[in-house]
């Protein structure tokens, strides 16, 4: 039994890295996702097309491939152009990892945010405008607060997804949960306990979060039906 506990504890040492990358990524994802969502709704055709192309590219390729391009492909390209670029000089391999996760999640978040904003009755915007508020004020004070309530569960689900997806970052040099387990496995050869430990470490993050989301959704549903 001790070997299983050891596997679990070793995997747990990767939790700070996994959580940190996921947290920074979700913040980038939400901010850039909001920008993409607003771009897709502007009158500017150029911005609409740009945001659409971006989303198609990100959704159409695996995150591991994006991470490999960002972590190794881009330095290779820059070096072939004679630019001595190394991620280690810019904060280490965790930087491209966070960038890829963040911008990847932005593509998903933008869809979620867009549908959240669209779910708000257009009368809300019109009433705000007719009271003399600018478009920006109406968005900030009336539309986005209502949209946030709608998208909060999807937002938290995206965070759970991100936590799991960061497991590919071991391949680009980030020592997160899975990588911890792999390293231990290759020195101790305790293969089954190592990977079971990894699975448990992910579960103690994701399951409580998922439960909390369900609870929130039930509470919202009760509020709606009481209204």
């Amino acid at each position: 039994m001790g070997v299983y506990l050891k596997g679990f504890l070793i995997a747990c040492r990767g939790i700070p890295a996994t959580v940190a990358v996921s947290l920074i990524a979700i913040v980038i994802g939400a901010a850039f996702g909001l920008l993409l969502a607003l771009c897709s709704q502007t009158k500017s055709k150029v911005l609409q097309v740009l945001s659409k192309v971006y989303i198609d590219i990100v959704r159409g390729t695996p995150m591991l491939v994006q991470a490999l391009i960002m972590a190794y492909g881009i330095p290779w390209l820059l070096q072939s152009w004679g630019v001595g670029f190394k991620w280690d000089n810019f904060g280490g391999m965790v930087v491209p990892a966070v960038i890829v996760c963040g911008f990847n999640s932005a593509a998903y978040m933008s869809e979620v945010i867009r549908s959240g904003i669209q779910a708000i009755d257009k009368g809300q915007m019109e009433a705000a405008r007719s009271l003399g508020m600018s478009h920006g004020m109406a968005m900030r004070l009336v539309i986005i607060p209502q949209a946030v309530r709608i998208i909060l569960p999807a937002f938290a689900n995206e965070f759970v997804t991100l936590i799991k997806e960061t497991s590919v970052l071991g391949y680009v040099g980030v020592v997160e949960i899975l990588r911890r387990g792999q390293l231990w496995n290759s020195s101790s050869f305790e293969t089954f306990p190592a990977y079971i430990g990894v699975a448990l470490a992910y579960m103690i993050l994701t399951i409580p979060l998922s439960k909390a989301i369900n609870g929130y959704e039930r509470k919202m549903a009760r509020k709606e039906s009481a209204a």
Binding site: D121, A127, R129, S130, G132, M133, L141, P145, Q146, A227
Partner: protein, 316 residues
């Protein structure tokens, strides 16, 4: 109704509005004087809402002008100013190509050649337009604060309580105007909000969310929310059409009170009895035009236009 002292609050000139290929308004002009109550009637889909929404620029007219208290709300038309046309790069190119001055101006006007949006007309053009704009034009948001709109679907802000709904726009306006004593101003706005709520007998609902209110209560609150902006003109788009019959009375009573207090009002309505009772003037909108207008007696009792006669025979 010749009145020497009349003061024009709102004027629309030659409003055209297309949605794609659909021509909804085909040249509508009218003015609204201070204290006047105007009802707009017409069949469903005839463009009454569109006209009302053009008045406060919730819809931008395809063509035409909207004036609020002597200030232009719609974009300034460069084709009305020869010196603006002459300052444009398009004009300069035509002249450089050997064209006569007047011919060049006429060509530009007739063929709508100014490429204003792309910024291709150069800085001289832009600074002239900016100057004209500053002199005549009012910020749309500012113009909208002078008139407020009451909607069929109430459109109370769902994320805010009744009191917050009423206070939001006045407080934001105070912030925007960088009022010095903001807290004092907020207290005043709050007091006014309570006075308004008392007036409609709903002060006990101040901290309630809209979802807990009846339709009639929502609409009366929407009306006092508009009043809190101290508007000069109030626009109503079928304010009672979404209400259960037993709640129509309370909303119409509040509107009558406003009319008696001298509020300038433009009301799209299907409540013909109400329109007859409160209006100074009634407009019949049909096929994209104001087909007939006049006093309630003229319009309801002696309609001249056959389409109006037909419409009235169906609704009365």
């Amino acid at each position: 109704m010749l009145n020497e002292n009349k003061e024009v609050m709102l004027e629309v000139k030659n409003i055209f509005k297309n949605f794609g290929d659909l021509e909804v308004l085909k040249g509508v002009s009218t003015e609204v004087d201070k204290g006047e109550v105007i009802s707009i009637i017409g069949a469903s889909g005839s463009g009454k809402s569109t006209l009302l929404r053009c008045m406060n620029l919730l819809e931008e007219p395809t063509f035409g002008e909207v004036w609020i208290e002597g200030k232009l709300m719609t974009p300034v038309d460069p084709y009305l100013h020869y010196d603006v046309i002459k300052a444009s790069n398009t004009y300069k190119k035509l002249i450089a190509g050997g064209m006569d001055e007047l011919d060049a101006i006429m060509k530009i006007k007739q063929e709508d050649l100014l490429q204003e949006k792309s910024g291709k007309e150069g800085s001289e053009y832009k600074s002239l337009m900016d100057k004209i704009y500053k002199e005549n034009h009012i910020d749309t948001n500012l113009g909208r604060r002078k008139m407020s709109m009451v909607f069929q679907q109430f459109n109370l802000f769902n994320n805010l309580t009744v009191l917050e709904n009423i206070m939001l726009a006045p407080v934001e306006t105070a912030k925007y105007n960088k009022v010095k004593d903001l807290n004092g101003e907020k207290a005043k706005i709050r007091e006014q909000a309570f006075t308004l709520l008392k007036r409609i007998g709903l002060e006990d609902k101040a901290d309630v969310y809209p979802s807990k209110l009846s339709g009639g209560q929502k609409q009366r609150i929407a009306i006092v929310r508009s009043l809190a902006m101290n508007p000069d003109v109030m626009l109503f788009d079928e304010p009672t059409s979404a209400l259960d019959p037993e709640m129509i009375g309370e909303v119409l009573d509040l509107m009558k009170e406003l009319a008696q207090a001298g509020m300038t009002m433009v009301i799209v309505t299907h409540e013909m009895g109400f329109a007859k009772e409160v209006s100074d003037r009634v407009l019949f909108v049909d096929e994209g035009y104001i087909k007939e207008e006049g006093t309630p007696e003229e319009v309801f009792d002696h309609p001249k236009d056959p389409r109006l006669q037909d419409f009235l025979s169906k609704v009365l």
